[in-house]
Amino acid sequence: MDPQPVLEVVGAQLRFAGDTALSDVDFRMFPGEVHSLMGENGAGKSTMIKAITGAIRLDAGSISIDGNPVSFSTPAAAQRAGIRTVYQEIDLLPNLTVAENVMLGREPRRLGFIDWRATRRAAREALRQVGLELDPDSLLSSHSLAVQQLVAIARAISTELRILILDEPTSSLDQDEVAELFGVIRELKSRGVAILFVSHFLEQVYEICDRVTVLRNGSMVGEYLTTELLRIDLVQKMLGRDIAELDPETRSTAPLPESDRRVVLSAVDVGRAHRIQQTSVDLLAGEVLGMAGLLGSGRTELARILSGVDPTETGRLSYEGKQRHFAEPREALAVGVAYSSEDRKHEGIIGELSVRENILLALQAEQGWVRRIARRRQDELTASWIEALDIRPANPEHPAGLLSGGNQQKVMLARLLALAPRVLVLDEPTRGIDVGAKIEVQRLISDLAATGMSVVFISAELEEVLRVSDRILVLRDRRAVAELDPETLTVDMLLAIVAKAETDE
């Protein structure tokens, strides 16, 4: 039997403003073991971490340490219990020195005043443990992200440590630095520390982790030993496949004849440091280009470059044969390239404005503030979009923030479609919406492509990508690894390519 877990969460439950973030999730960690939480966007990983570290409180469920129930009201309380966290966004203080970042809040004192000499010495010692030899008096901001990441780990391990949580610690590290980090993790493991390692990189998970817990849409899929779980099974569990048989053929009809295949958007060696490596891709008129890849594969980053939201650092982007440099999304919209973000709440819907105002926002912005769209025309347009996309409730004056996820997505689509774009880049338009709405969105995409619009479609659900796309670009580890024809593919084949290990190639 397993030994007693050091940390055990049972029946975790949490809702945010009506959305379920966690529902009945169990999770446990054992001393001297590395555990990984796996899941896509919105699976509930960060929520779970926040609950364990005292950043938020669960609505229901219990957390216990060494079998004793605990309830952390603040991160400080969790830290007193020996739980340390290194967050994905480095939560250190760039304005202070390295020594302070390691020791802040626990500086050795003499007569109530900080003993800086002892502080530096202790910091140097902690840094040495993670293999860093650097001037403790240098400012944190003068070091690279990788070094900062290691400083954060040094801070975490220089204390009474029972549980170490590493939330995507490797996303800014290169190969050697990852190796260094893994050395530190193994050392801690041998000391009996329980480690939670969250990463998008499957190889890393398989290399360092003993156990994984898979979450999907806030629910628990299961807990497995890494040695007993095939990589392909893991990915499948993460992505799920619930709606496979509902609507077998959504893809646009026969592909256009070869002569009509005009390149609309062409990207040559576009990329951004630490985000997406140099990639080249062409987008043809009237096609749906699917992008398949796990979270962190670079799919969103590539989509944002293609649609002019983030400027590319390398290579060039041309639209209709003309080289373009988009400094603002507005410029891309002006030539007919529209982007719909995966983050509906922060980058899509203007929550307090009505459905009508949301739908007409981009059109109005394009016309400029002086030429207001006449109210009659606004009502007509809104009514037609509400009907065309079946937005419910069909009330144009309803605040958009109160709509369900699927209807918010439709409002965002209507906003972009009202511009009659030539290229539509949709980043996870079907995430977090129910099955019926999903099918509708898929069908809409096919219809749009049939009218000659080029669509880039991103989804974590491979069936969906396969069904909707005319061509599929697979991304892995921040680069494009394959371009496939869905006609010749099955979901399992695609799954295998998406999940494939670096070493297998």
Binding site: T53, A55, T74, P75, A76, Q79, R80, T85, Y87, D91, L92, L93, P94, N95, L96, T97, E100, L104, G105, E107, R109, G112, F113, I114, W116, G131, L132, E133, L134, D135, D137, S138, L139, S141, S142, H143, S144, V147, R155, E177, E180
Partner: protein, 335 residues
Amino acid sequence: MSAATPATGTALSSLRKLIQRRVSWLPVGAALLILILMFVAGQSYFGRFLTPRLLSSLLVDNAYLVVLAAGMTFVILTGGIDLSVGAVMAFTGMLAAKLLSTGVPTGVVIPLMIASGAVFGLVIGVLVNYFDVQPFIASLAGMFLARGLCFVVSLEAVQVKDTTVLGLQSTKLGTFEWYITPTGIIALLVIVVAAWVLGYTRFGRTVYAIGGNEQSARLMGLPVARTKVLVYVISGVCAGIAGLLFTAYTAAGYSLNGIGTELDTIASVVIGGTLLAGGSGYVIGSLVGVLVYGVIKVAITFLGADSSWTRITIGILLLVFVVVQRVLVARGSRR
């Protein structure tokens, strides 16, 4: 790993290392340079500008502002702002003048001034921290409250005849040329204590941490809430002390004292190199900032120009510093 390389050890690299380590002192250096340049320019333009008497009066005449700036530095370091200091200073001065005139002993009045300043700070701090009121609005309410209460105490100016209080300003220690008053000593003492607290206590370092990134500081388990309230209390205490110094200076409590002083204070702190976004700056810099302010005031008197030029010059200096800060921060975040 991009570790430091102590082995090279050439003079150049150690100089670079020194600059890199002390990069946060650069703005203070810039302020000091401005101060020196102003001295030099004044001396060469007016001939008899840079005298011991002027240097002495620079500190003595601006002692209250030095104290206010010290308190404000704490608040701005956390990324907040305290607009109430001028009004609170006026209120504590008014209160003291009134109490002294009714025969309350000095030994009771002075602690009471400081305590009432602290209460104002506490109210603002609680509003900011526990009720998510923007610092600017909360301290604005404090400003209104203090200014209005001044008039509740008395509508007229109240003379102060208490010898202990007046002695703080009139006692001149030192020679005829080089002198200092107890108010000056108090101001310097406040600076030393403030610098010590910021540099050598966990509380002080938490102040910097909050200014660097409040969320991170909280996740690191630092006592963010307590610290955020306390900085406003410190600023209030400083306003109380400044009230004492200002009363000694003007020998009266008057409700319209210190109107606009909060702006002078903020400008001095910013000119002294403290980042308005928080997280970087030094009390010593704020002292230099006040001295710069003082020299501008004196120079404009020397020029015989309209005193309104003081505010304009300060405004322009503030602007230059804010824009430079903005550029530096933008550069930093790009990296």
